[in-house]
Symmetry: C3
Subunit: 185 residues, 3 copies
């Protein structure tokens, strides 16, 4: 079985229930989710298995959920079976609350970086937001599961808190943006 099929060489591609252009906003959306998933894999390989046991478990589940999300967006036919639900968004909120409890209070923007794990989680954060922007366009222009848009919005806040936790665990204080006001609250 060869992985390449040559069927997409003219710019069109198969989706679940149809065939569309590769630069369709729908393909851009689940392609950017694929990009986010790759960055999560990158963040995970930086994590010590003991220090980050909880985050590794949570991120693995999120990787599966992003396949669910992309699969929902990839459906164009009449009989669609969506996998992403409101419960998955609520679960992200519980994860955010859990990790946020480990962080000091925050008032101002912080410079992304500080430690290898935190830097990787900030990269996940910003690409989750790029994926969210694509999904906002898709959800406005075509029929799709609008729970994916909500899931990605919550997910970038999860990555913000995870990035902060990483610096707490690395013993690296976050550096505040020096010309900004008190924006959180």
């Amino acid at each position: 079985m060869k992985i390449y099929t040559r069927t997409g060489d003219e710019g069109k591609t198969g989706v679940i229930g149809g065939r569309i252009e590769k630069d369709d906003v729908r393909v851009e959306a689940y392609g950017t989710i694929d990009e986010l998933n790759a960055l999560i894999g990158e963040a995970m390989i930086r994590m010590n298995a003991q220090v980050y046991a909880d985050l590794l478990t949570d991120l693995t589940e999120i990787q599966h959920e992003l396949f669910d999300a992309g699969g929902d967006l990839a459906q164009v036919g009449k009989n669609r079976k969506y996998k992403v639900t409101r419960d998955m968004v609520t679960r992200l909120e519980e994860l955010i609350d859990k990790y946020d409890a480990e962080c000091p209070p925050i008032q101002r923007f912080i410079l992304p970086g500080g430690s290898p794990v935190s830097a990787a989680l900030h990269m996940c954060r910003v690409v989750a937001r790029r994926a969210e922007r694509c999904v906002v366009t898709l959800t406005r222009e075509q029929e799709t599961n609008d729970e994916v848009r909500r899931y990605l919005n919550r997910l970038s806040d999860f990555f913000f808190v995870a990035a902060r936790v990483a610096n707490v665990r690395a013993g690296v204080p976050d550096v505040e943006y020096k010309r900004g006001g008190q924006v959180f609250g």
Copy 2:
């Protein structure tokens, strides 16, 4: 010789045979190829020179080929000299077959990650696909070398196989997406 020329400060830029807006789909296309090339450099610096001698050689050649590809896309004049050919696509297929032989059979989607080299190669894979989407738009809307579109399609499958090989060599089994079906075959 100063690297900065200040000539692009108003948003237009020189291409080979003309001057266009920096947000033209043409510039976006070869700019995204530049982004892919940078990620290949990242993957390469993670590779042990003995364990990955073959991949390092192949990726160096691909980096040169991506300069060829970007150079083709950057041409807007009448007398164009393209460098990317069908033979370069066929060569990628031979590389894919070579590395695929080292991998166990695959039936289901895999979570990107597992080892540092594999994670970096998945990042190359997803950005090659983003570059491909830009090139699909450019090839539809303007005159360009349509072999570049074919080359990038094949290239992302090359990165998939390379990412799998990296986990084989690192002794890290790929994790299957648990809610998906048997999609490969």
Copy 3:
């Protein structure tokens, strides 16, 4: 204080002085600046504190300046207070001249990569250029601080020189693109 507010779940979001769609070119622009800032954090965590003391200081200031830039772009009201000035662009030129003096002369394109720090700085370079393209669109279509467009143009040349310096300090010679001409001069 919970970081998530759920107010952006329908695809619109608050900016400074208004509320717009998350896929508005304005949000795309400062969102891509956020992505660049995350990649700078990544480059910085790779740098040895002694070998790269100067670059670490300069990059920290650039991270603050990118918050200034994003803050300028995020303003849509009548009374705007911009932070990015021509002086900040001139300062980048002085930094470029400073680091370029440490590098051998260059005539041809170089393959991005070579060392971990250089690879990360090339990634900053290409994403600065992607942010620049977004800002070119925004500056053409809406009212904003056009100094940000100029700043990002100069910044990607800064990252090119910084990436070259990183390979000089790592003792890794840059590899020239073998099928290109003498493009610098």
